[in-house]
């Protein structure tokens, strides 16, 4: 492989990424950082959890992204009575033309490239867990038969933080399977004015597909493989491992005070994988063929906080995981220097 080809591949990735962001930005006013984080998670091969108050544009972002990518898209509105089979699919008795009856597997909504799990915390833990295998292994097992999910497979789940009644906390195992957690904030005043003007006008902006329909999945897979090819130096891997290790309580004298006081369980190795994969995408976006420690620093606030299990003292002190990760990053930088 010549340097020219590699440089062209990086440039192609950057252009595709920029085009997707541009198309999504046509209909989603503001939230540039959130959109970029979601796209980074998508190309890193992970899944994203979006948290935000109702009406802030969570579903719009996901739907716009699916349209821009030109991939198959399904949406599941999670409710209390939603069952796992409603997600994965089920076997039904089908009567053939010859009168014979047989069990046929009917694919559920999970069989799509992009899956929007809207208000995922409203479903019971049993139903939520139906997504575990799909998210981790990109397959579902129904009645002893394993069915592969289409590739690329990308889950975008939304979480409503204010309506806690009738909701179920996501199990840690499932939270850990989300590469990033994106918190959507209220739009600024200027953004709000633009939102009001654009969405109530006669002509509503539409998203144009960036990738051709027949080759979209293939192109996305190519770009994901390209991301995996980005070089990571040992010192960067060490730094990522250090950050993950600094979230583990019980190492007195090494971890930040906030971790010792407030964290019950720290980030898992998946957290480290999320750091490196996200950093690889950021490296490509910066036109680099290698990951720098600054990429890790940029990814960490999205990749680590939702993996921490904090104790009651943290909630009582209103000390949130992002603040703990900020201390972890500071400690990591001190150790690196």
């Amino acid at each position: 492989m010549t340097p020219t080809v590699a440089a062209a591949a990086i440039e192609d990735f950057r252009q595709t990424f920029a085009a997707l962001r541009r198309e999504v930005a046509k209909v989603v006013i503001g939230h540039e950082a959130a959109i970029e984080t979601i796209l980074v998670a998508f190309f890193a091969g992970g899944h994203a959890l979006i948290e935000g108050v109702p009406g802030i544009g969570k579903t719009l972002i996901v739907r716009s992204l699916a349209e821009a990518l030109n991939l198959s898209f399904n949406r599941i509105q999670f409710t209390v009575d939603l069952m796992p089979a409603d997600i994965t699919g089920t076997r039904i008795i089908n009567e053939g033309p010859d009168g014979r009856r047989e069990l046929v597997f009917v694919e559920g909504p999970v069989f799509a490239h992009l899956l929007l799990a809207d208000e995922i915390n409203r479903a019971t833990p049993k139903t939520q867990s139906a997504l575990l295998e799909a998210m981790a292994e990109q397959q579902v097992t129904v009645a002893g038969t394993t069915h592969a999910l289409p590739s690329p497979f990308f889950v975008l789940a939304t979480l409503n933080p204010i309506e806690m009644e009738g909701t179920y906390q996501l199990p840690e195992a499932q939270l850990d399977r989300f590469l990033f957690k994106v918190v959507l904030e209220y739009p600024s005043r200027a953004e709000l004015e633009r939102i009001l003007g654009d969405t109530t006008a006669a002509e509503v902006p539409t998203v144009e597909p960036v990738l051709p329909r027949d080759r979209a999945a293939t192109r996305v897979e190519e770009l994901r493989r390209l991301v995996r090819c980005v070089l990571v130096a040992p010192h960067v891997e060490r730094y990522a491992a250090d950050l993950v290790g600094l979230t583990h309580p019980g190492r007195d004298g090494e971890v930040p005070e906030a971790v010792s006081r407030y964290v019950v369980y720290g980030a898992s190795p998946r957290g480290g994988q999320a750091l490196l994969l996200g950093a690889k995408v950021l490296a490509l976006l910066a036109g680099r063929a290698h990951v720098a420690v600054e990429d890790i620093d940029r990814v960490a606030p999205s990749a680590l906080p939702h993996r921490l299990v904090v104790n009651f003292a943290a909630e009582a002190a209103a000390f949130r995981p992002p603040e703990i990760i900020a201390q972890v990053l500071a400690a990591g930088r001190r150790r690196r220097s």
Binding site: C229, H235, H290, A292
Partner: protein
């Protein structure tokens, strides 16, 4: 690059240490020359402490700046703003050569090659010499030299000598540079005839304060010359300069040599050399002779000392004629070998009785008692024969002393 950077950092540290030491030495010398004993003790301790603290800080700052083999690539990368390109190539190539076939490896190599000019040693460490540190070191060195050069010319005027009739025991010693020295009669009943030796002068006592006082005195001697008299010390040269006739008596304070255990009588001297200078020369000669004698393992020293004890003392325990045979320092005048004038010594007859301030005790009258019988005659057979010492080589610096002490002898002749 690493060698160049480390050399630069080491120079910076060295120059900063030199600057610190230069400033410290300058301050200590200034304090020693013009400060009182207390100010010198406090100031030199403070300056020394600050200097040590500064050197520790310099070491802590410079030490981490030195690059090891592992850190040099990362340092160069950061310094040249390569965004990790160089260190990534080096680390991946070192750890896993197989990954050099990776998709982006050729691109990374080419990017480093393109940026080769940005991480050349000449660019990363542009100067071989740390100019600011060097300038500070030179300034500090200049300050030291200027102090040492200018200090002798700023030597304070010697004190005037005045004579009083009041016994010196009532006069308190002083530890500042006096503008005059009182010469007074010895106080009656003083055990050694050295009134005013109450221990208040520099060099008295033991411990850190004594060491600092000696250091201060030493610095003054080095800077202002050996003729420098310590603050409050007797100044025979000043006495000579005063033009008054010397009288028997003692100075109210002690000289540096006095503090070392050697008494200098405050008698007038008609010689060209000051008594203090002669005493110091004698001290040096005594030290050299003692070292030479110890090297030869001369066993006759004790015997000569005993013999000298038996001789009549001329001036008591503090008499300058101790070299003529008192028990204080029987080897004061060096080995008992005849030396010519070329060696700077002259021969002094050991049997020559000296004269001193106090009357010489009369020799015992009558016949000496008969010698006791030799209880161990075998031991006598094992002794080696020794020629009797009749003369002793005396340093020339003592000539004025000796001539004065033995003047009655010459006059008798």
């Amino acid at each position: 690059m690493r060698r160049r950077h480390n050399l630069h950092e080491a120079q910076r540290g060295l120059y900063l240490v030199v600057s610190t030491l230069g400033v410290a030495v300058t301050l200590v010398v200034l304090l020693a020359l013009w400060g009182s004993a207390g100010a010198f003790a406090a100031g030199s301790a403070a300056v020394g402490g600050l200097a040590v603290l500064s050197i520790v800080l310099i070491a802590r700052r410079v030490g981490p700046g030195l690059l090891g083999a592992a850190r040099s690539a990362a340092w160069s990368d950061r310094r040249a703003e390569l965004e990790g390109r160089l260190v990534t190539v080096l680390e991946i190539g070192r750890r896993n050569p197989g990954r050099q076939e990776a998709f982006f490896w050729p691109l990374l190599l080419e990017e480093n090659a393109q940026r080769l000019g940005t991480w050349r040693p000449e660019r990363l460490v542009p100067r071989r010499l740390p100019r600011a540190s060097l300038a500070s070191a030179l300034a500090a060195t200049f300050a030291v030299c200027a102090t040492l050069v200018l200090a002798p010319s700023l030597r304070p005027a010697p004190p005037a000598v005045e004579y009083v009739t009041e016994p010196a025991g009532r006069l308190a010693p002083i530890d500042v540079t006096p503008d005059r020295v009182l010469l007074a009669p010895a106080q009656a009943g003083s055990p050694d005839g050295a009134p005013g030796e109450s221990g208040g002068g520099p060099g008295a006592g033991h411990g850190p304060s004594s060491l600092l006082a000696r250091l201060q005195e030493r610095i003054r001697e080095q800077v202002w010359g050996p003729a420098w008299e310590p603050p409050g010390g007797a100044s025979p040269s000043a006495e000579a300069r005063s033009g008054r006739p010397p009288r028997d008596g003692h100075a109210t304070t002690r000289s540096a040599s006095d503090a070392r255990g050697e008494r200098i009588p405050a008698r007038g001297s008609g010689s060209q050399h000051g008594i203090a200078e002669a005493a110091r020369a004698a001290q040096r000669a005594k030290r050299a002779n003692r070292e030479g004698r110890e090297a030869r393992g001369d066993a006759s020293v004790a015997e000569r000392g005993k013999r000298a004890d038996d001789e009549p003392r001329s001036t008591g325990t503090e008499g300058a004629a101790s070299g003529a045979g008192t028990a204080i320092a029987p080897d004061l005048f060096g080995p008992p070998t005849g030396r010519g004038k070329d060696s700077g010594t002259f021969d002094l007859a050991l049997a020559a009785p000296g004269s001193g301030v106090t009357p010489t005790p009369a020799p015992p009258e009558g016949e000496p008692p008969p010698a006791a019988a030799d209880e161990r005659p075998t031991l006598a057979a094992g002794q080696w024969s020794e020629k009797p010492l009749t003369k002793m080589s005396v340093p020339a610096a003592y000539e004025p002393f000796v001539r004065r002490l033995f003047a009655h002898r010459e006059e008798a002749r």
